[in-house]
């Protein structure tokens, strides 16, 4: 009731009395929650360190510059490992994500009440856990190394790829599928002729997009021991070799930029 009559005059307000009260209460609660959060963070912070931070930052900066360029000769193998973790991990995850996506899309799932929820559970659980945690877990199980990194990336990507893919499957043009069915094609032929051609561009886009993300993620997997350039980063940090750290960060930055460029190029070529 935004228009009210007060003393015979019509007064327009953006919100009615009750609405604006609710609005204010919401803001109040929001501010209170934030204030509480901040107080908690502040309570567990040693403020002496924080006031000292500019000096420390400056100190780190002077130690880290210039980067130790000759260290790059030792980074060849780690970079190669990082690339492999991302690429092989993406390939494995796609192989696993395709069936999961078909089981999760409501127009292709064989059973809406039994199999679909399981597929959705796989998607949400692999997606909500970071690849570093998967890596930690896999290192505990199969030991440190590149292989653990590949599997960690693969598992983590299943949910992401399967989610985007099953959304693409649900968006397909159903009449094309109907037309193939009407020719007397079998279930698998309907899949190969009616559905696959429609989702192929989306699939390629998802694959390249995820590969780009995986390059980023695999650069840091080494921090927990799962191979790649992160391993060098972690050992350099442990001995406080800041010039090496700055070089590694530059290399990671370059890798991220290059992979983003490649993925944009490839996606442009596909679509």
């Amino acid at each position: 009731m935004p228009v009210e009559e007060i003393k015979g005059q019509k007064i327009w307000q953006r919100r009615s009395g009750r609405e604006s009260l609710a609005h204010w209460v919401m803001w109040l609660i929001g501010v209170a929650v934030f204030a509480y959060c901040w107080q908690q963070i502040s309570a567990s912070t040693t403020w002496f360190f924080v006031w000292d931070a500019p000096r420390i930052a400056d100190d780190i900066w002077t130690r880290a510059t210039p980067p130790r360029w000759e260290y790059i000769t030792q980074l060849g193998k780690p970079i190669w490992d990082t690339l492999n973790i991302a690429t092989l991990g993406t390939i494995f995850s796609l192989i696993l994500a395709v069936p999961v996506a078909f089981l999760a899309a409501h127009n292709t799932t064989p059973s809406r009440f039994f199999i679909r929820p399981i597929a959705l559970l796989i998607i949400v659980s692999t997606r909500s856990i970071n690849s570093l945690i998967w890596a930690l877990l896999l290192i505990a199980i199969i030991g440190p190394g590149v292989f653990a990194g590949v599997i960690a990336i693969a598992i983590r990507s299943i949910g992401f790829c399967a989610k985007l893919l099953y959304e693409a499957i649900e968006e397909i043009d159903q009449t094309q599928v109907e037309a193939i069915t009407a020719t007397g094609a079998s279930r698998w032929q309907v899949m190969a002729y009616g559905i696959v051609p429609q989702i192929l561009p989306a699939f390629a886009g998802i694959a390249v997009f995820r590969w780009d993300i995986n390059i980023r993620e695999s650069t840091v997997l080494g921090l927990v021991g799962a191979g790649g350039i992160g391993l060098q980063l972690s050992s350099s940090l442990n001995v406080l070799a800041w010039p090496q750290v700055s070089l590694i960060l530059l290399v990671i930055l370059a890798a991220v930029v290059i992979s983003e460029w490649v993925s944009a190029k490839v996606r442009g070529a596909i679509i």
Partner: protein
């Protein structure tokens, strides 16, 4: 008809996606060579993996009997810290993102401001959370403050970029109509731009809240606060039942957030 005679009896092959045969073969051979090379350089200790399968089975079984109680105080403290970092960093990150997004939208910002804002976004997006966290822990010391700052910083890159894209693709006519009424710049933003991008801002904010929570779970690995430290300890001690409990809580919260974001996004649209 003559054309038909030339076609009949000839086998038909699907034309290839890549027209030039040499390029097609070069790409296929190159990829195969890469795969072989990659496989050769990964040395997998298969006996170690085989031993690990037993532990893997134990871990999966742990999900059937997660242990919430033994380390309940650690789990509780870690979770609360994660949630606090998530909320605080989302609020601060979003508040900072909005002016940067306005500055990074070419249709409302002058060129110098546009370039500055775009470079802030580029830096924030190029650096990953965990690396930023390592640096901030080195500078500010251990604790949730480093995590809070990391997540705020990461939120800026994500939210400003997507919000700026939203502003750039808004309907120009509506904004012009407001300008034509003689509105000042702030009024123009408030009446012409804000209503158009508000649903997107809300949707993105909730999505980012979700991402911040997931990321806050790993910041503990480098000492930046949150549940990650507890999780790391659980893995180190091979306490799979505790780890399973933590992972289940994370998954549940993420699912709840996703559900919530679906509901809210449906309401604002």
């Amino acid at each position: 008809m003559s054309e038909l005679h030339t076609l009949i009896g000839k086998p038909w092959r699907k034309p290839s996606f890549i027209k030039r045969p040499w390029l097609r073969w070069a790409l296929m051979l190159g990829f195969a060579a890469y795969l072989i090379a990659a496989y050769m350089t990964i040395d997998v200790n298969w006996s170690r993996v085989y031993e690990g399968l037993e532990r893997g089975k134990k871990f999966i079984l742990a999900f059937t009997s997660p242990d919430f109680t033994t380390r309940s105080s650690d789990i509780y403290a870690g979770m609360v810290e994660s949630i606090i970092m998530t909320i605080a960093s989302s609020v601060v990150g979003i508040a900072i993102s909005i002016p940067i997004a306005l500055g990074a939208a070419r249709n409302i910002a002058p060129l110098p401001i546009y370039l500055i804002c775009r470079s802030i976004i580029a830096i924030s997006r190029a650096l990953q959370e965990i690396i930023v966290a390592i640096l901030l822990v080195a500078i500010f010391g251990f604790g949730p403050l480093a995590g809070f700052l990391t997540l705020s910083f990461a939120t800026i890159g994500f939210l400003s970029k997507l919000l700026a894209e939203g502003i750039e693709s808004m309907d120009k006519v509506q904004a012009e109509a407001i300008k034509a009424s003689g509105a000042r710049w702030t009024q123009w933003i408030n009446y012409g731009v804000q209503p158009q991008v508000m649903p997107r801002l809300i949707g993105l904010s909730i999505y980012r809240l979700d991402i911040n929570f997931r990321e806050s779970a790993i910041l503990g690995l480098v000492g930046a606060g949150g549940i990650g430290a507890t999780l790391n300890t659980a893995f180190d001690r091979y306490e799979y039942d505790t780890a399973a409990a933590i992972l289940m809580i994370i998954i549940l919260i993420v699912m709840a957030l996703e559900y919530l974001s679906g509901v809210i996004r449906a309401r604002v649209q």
